[in-house]
Amino acid sequence: MTVLTGAAYWLPLICAAVIGFAVAMYIVLDGFDLGLGILFAFFPREIDRDQMMNSVAPFWDGNETWLILGGTGLFVTFPRAYAVVMPALYVPLITMLLALVFRGVAFEFRWVAKPHHRIWDVAFSAGSIVATLCQGFMLGGLLGGTRVVQGHFAGGAFDWLSPFTLVCGLGLLVGYALLAATWLVMKTAGNLERRARKSARVLLVGMLIFVVTVSIWTPLEFPRIAARWFTWPNLVYLSPVPVATALLAVVCWRGLMRTRVMFSPFYSAVGLFIISFVGLVISTMPYLVPPAFTVWDAAAAPSSQRFVLIGILILMPFILGYTVFVYYHFRGKVRADEGYH
């Protein structure tokens, strides 16, 4: 194996960090967005559902754009990984995309269809649930390993399916629902907020159970992950991860128990997601498509990576800037009479 130095070593790492950032942004932003659809089933009153939709309606499109950035980002910077992962995860991927069609149009169709909007409530909720499950399946399928022969995907359509992927799907379902419940605590008032607070407590416990399950399962199933976490001195260096997880869980719980605390539950739930994501990255680095490709194996031509990174360097501050602007513009609790319709 040749030793990589300079740009050939750093460029792929920087690109991987950028894609990791896009995926993390997507998980957090579309996480609460999809989570609202998951919670829909438990909030049957029309006035509650209107407020839930309105709390996210100005943002949903921007949130989903991070999904496009994640996908095209992989295409741009790691075309070989993109060319293997997408066929390997074809079934959950296409199912997710179709589910997103239903939930995406529901934001607009629901208002136009009123008072015959029930069908779009169902589409929004079912679409969100299916899309979330598929994202969990894709995560589990990717971690579980992809069969690659001579640089090409060489497996079957359902290789991704295993008990582990099912757990990942369910875990993500509970996690996104937690994000959404804490979002509602922050963005709504009155009865809706009270009920969201109650649901969030149950969901927090559920999410922690899944986090612990996955944390125990992955090292048992994948020796390379066990070696990453449970060897000296990694054990010490990585110990802040479980400690931070526990602290964030405590902050979230305390926020949920005090009726006047609005913000800390959501932000600590976001923190929990980020720390879980960091944990997964630690487990898999430097693999992009375990066990076939590391970030260096799958990297695009340095000139291509450089060209895109320049664009990201210049444009990302603007993107983050107006993302912050739009969240700030629509800050505060949602009023019952709001919306453009």
């Binding site: 309606a57 100005p58 499109d61 921007g62 754009t65 496009i68 950035l69 996908g71 095209t72 980002g73 992989l74 295409f75 741009v76 075309p79 070989r80 993109y82 060319a83 293997v84 992962v85 997408m86 066929p87 074809y90 079934v91 991927l93 296409i94 199912t95 995309l97 179709l98 069609v101 239903f102 995406g104 149009v105 934001f107 607009e108 169709f109 136009v112 269809a113 009123k114 640089g151 090409h152 995907f153 060489a154 359509a157 031509a301 000139s303 291509s304 060209f307 895109v308 664009g311 990201i312 444009l315 990302m316 993107i319 107006y322 993302t323 739009v326 513009h329 629509f330 009479d337 453009y340």
Partner: protein
């Protein structure tokens, strides 16, 4: 059916459905921005009513464009993984720039435009509309650059079967790109103008929303009368560019089988792919040469000049191209006759014209689809012209898997987007209702101060009966 054909059908289906929405929203966002600016300038409230009305239509169309667009960014990898590997270094960054420069801009300010009638000062709202219009055009810039590179690749070298970039400016501004961009953007603005004109004409036919309808008709006719002839010129230039870089495509478009002398212009024929002749042909001698070479006796390469395995199939391209050109000529006639009536002061009172314009709304969409069918099928049998054959570009997926996903796409898109278009029709029939609006305040604005001028939107009744 082979896996390759299924993959082609799936991509053709998903992208054809998708293109309908951006083709409409590119022009519609510019139209809304114009209306909001006119409203600020003049203070006449029917501009505001129109802007609000079309923004609702825009919201539904844009949502459909977004959800049908997300699959596109994944289908390159899921169904065309070999293409992604071969072209990723070159095409990838352009799509990346589309996301970075356009998608976030559009998506973010869409929220401000749609939900801002109460929270947003009018000037910011007009700015949001302008930014969205710029975003949609920017998106067209990058995706057309990527597509053009697949038609006329430049600025790259091939190593071990993979394309590597050597000159980014040459890649972005590849030979067919300026023509394709101008042609497509103009097509998008024409398409929206037609819809706006048709809606205005239909309102006038039933005597509803007269002031709004007249504005829509004037703006629609003006755009058609100017951009229609411009599009003819652009199309001609685009054709000459194609003749230079993809002569086989031109030969197929014209069903030009044999290179035996000056080229006829075939007005109509039934091309016979087997015998390589045209049946029932109606043609004008020399006119093909004149159009394509600007020379009475100019010679144009024919299909027989290309190897059998480098020729596109003729029939679909031949007819698609004629449909596009036929509609183009119809649009010019509609625009110029409308301009004439306007000049004579009879634009709003000629029932035959109002009826014709009222039925013209789908023409732009049909022409755009026909044009894309022409250019994409004309590139065959290559996915990247001269570099990668379509047969060698697909993912290693079983035919059954792709068939299942194709059926799922057809079912889901068929149901969801039909309903969406039904809702748009419903909104248009309902019309631009709304109370009078105060003109925007002059002087410095206070950010985030809810303005009374926009509060009427809540009062709009949903119960008013449809007018047409």
């Amino acid at each position: 059916m082979t896996a390759v054909l299924l993959a082609r059908l799936q991509f053709a289906f998903t992208i054809s459905v998708h293109i309908i929405f951006p083709a409409f929203t590119i022009g519609l966002s510019a139209f809304i921005a114009t209306l909001l600016i006119l409203w600020q300038r003049t203070g006449r409230d029917h501009f505001h009513r129109l802007a609000r009305f079309w923004t609702k239509v825009f919201a539904v169309s844009f949502a459909m464009g977004v959800v049908s667009g997300i699959p596109m960014s994944y289908e390159f990898g899921s169904n065309w993984s070999r293409f992604s590997e071969v072209a990723g270094n070159v095409v990838g960054p352009m799509i990346g720039y589309e996301v970075l420069t356009a998608f976030f801009l559009e998506a973010t300010f869409l929220g401000v435009l749609l939900f801002g009638w109460k929270r947003t000062p009018p000037r910011l709202q007009a700015a949001a509309a302008v930014l969205i219009a710029v975003g949609t055009a920017m998106s067209a810039f990058w995706i057309l650059s990527a597509n053009s590179w697949m038609q006329t690749p430049a600025g790259y070298v091939m190593r071990d079967g993979i394309a590597y970039p050597t000159d980014w400016l040459a890649i972005i501004f590849n030979p067919s790109f300026p023509y394709r961009l101008a042609h497509m953007l103009t097509a998008a603005y024409l398409t929206t103008s037609l819809v706006v004109l048709a809606v205005g004409a239909r309102y006038l036919l039933v005597g509803a929303f007269k002031e709004e309808a007249r504005t829509m008709m004037r703006m629609g006719v003006g755009m058609l009368a100017v951009l229609g002839p411009v599009q003819l010129l652009l199309g001609d230039q685009h054709g000459l560019n194609t003749l230079e870089h993809q002569p086989a495509k031109i030969a197929a478009m014209e069903a030009h089988w044999r290179n035996t002398g000056p080229m006829d212009l075939v007005l109509f024929a039934l091309p016979d792919e087997h015998l390589k002749v045209n049946r029932a042909a109606l043609s004008i001698p020399h006119l093909g040469s004149l159009i394509l070479t600007h020379d009475w006796n100019g010679r144009v390469p024919a299909l027989e000049d290309f190897a059998a395995n480098a020729q596109p199939r003729v029939t679909l391209i031949f007819f698609a191209f004629r449909i596009m050109v036929g509609i183009g000529l119809l649009l010019i006639a509609l625009g110029l006759s409308g301009a004439f009536l306007w000049w004579r002061g009879r634009l709003f009172t000629s029932p035959w014209y109002l009826r014709a314009a009222g039925w013209a709304w789908p023409l732009g969409f049909i022409a755009i689809l026909a044009g894309w069918l022409t250019t994409e099928n004309g590139r065959q049998p290559y996915v990247i012209y001269g570099i990668l054959r379509t047969d060698n570009a697909t993912s290693p997926l079983a035919a059954g898997t792709v068939l299942a996903s194709l059926v799922a796409f057809v079912l889901v898109y068929g149901v969801v987007f039909s309903i969406g278009i039904y809702y748009i029709r419903k909104m248009i029939r309902h019309g631009p209702h709304g109370a009078a609006v105060a003109p925007p305040p002059l002087g410095p604005e206070l950010a985030n101060r809810p303005l009374a001028s926009a509060a009427e939107s809540a009062r709009e009744s949903r119960q008013e009966p449809p007018v047409i």
